[in-house]
Symmetry: C2
Subunit: 166 residues, 2 copies
């Protein structure tokens, strides 16, 4: 499977790098898309290589989507192409994993109405206003969408997402 990550500078380091390795461990291919080529640096100083720009992404070519948190999602959500990628993949029922601030991109994509999920508690009200049934749980699985709250949930988040990729 080909798994796409949407992120930008100031990503939450563990929330991007943990799933990157975990998904790679299963033999899947992982790709990071961002505003421009080169490297992006996380809040804690880790750098990862950008594989393709948002404009270069053809969502048809990817089987699943990961939306890490940090300050990156607030940057990503103002890019219409990135939001359109997330909307299309989410609506087509492809597996989507989000954590912490990651679902800010899904709010902007307008896909959360009637869906069950979680996020960092600081955007709980935004999730609810977007029509999401917000649940305070280490992981929430609602069909194709697997969401968690923060880095302390990583083990549960990927345990459930890996199941969806099988």
């Amino acid at each position: 499977m080909k798994v796409l990550f949407l992120s930008a500078v100031d990503f939450e380091d563990l929330e991007l790098i943990y799933p990157l390795h975990r998904i790679k461990e299963e033999g899947h291919e992982v790709y990071i898309a961002s505003f421009e080529k080169g490297h992006i640096t996380g809040k804690h100083g880790y750098q990862v290589k950008v594989d393709l720009t948002f404009d270069e992404v053809n969502p048809e070519e990817f089987d699943a989507l990961v939306l890490p948190g940090g300050k990156a999602p607030e940057r990503v959500r103002i890019n219409e192409k990135a939001v359109a990628i997330a909307r299309k993949m989410f609506k087509e029922g492809k597996p989507v994993a989000s954590i912490c601030h990651g679902p800010q991109i899904l709010i902007s994509a307008g896909v959360l109405k009637g869906r069950k999920g979680t996020s960092t508690i600081t955007i709980k009200d935004d999730m609810i206003n977007a029509g999401c049934e917000w649940i305070n749980s280490e992981v929430v699985v609602d069909g194709n969408w697997v969401s968690s709250r923060h880095p302390g949930d990583l083990y549960a988040w990927m345990r459930e997402f890996i199941k969806l990729l099988k």
Copy 2:
């Protein structure tokens, strides 16, 4: 299974937190031992809780050992109790995972003679002087010992270590 981590301040954040969650994902219990109770902070600022001091560890109670890298192993290796724990568990054939500077503790434990393994290249000569056959590979599995070089190898490191825990 009960899996023990030996570490200290200035651990390499990903090298401790990645296996912590990955092993927890499999349903095992994870415990961090260090010099004193409280929290230890990694090189990149992440904090983890210390579950027990080196003096409190009874190695008989643990089934496997993880030695993350960073600057922590150079601190840990001067603690005789910590080194004795690693020596005992390694010699008994319990699964041991080390990465980066982690095997400095195994060098001090005197258990590497005739064993195949890897580490950060910066301690390659110390590994060889300790009698280890040093191999430049993302992961080396030699019986009960699974070793990797750096955070870029995390996916391969845990892929092999998780197999040993089964």
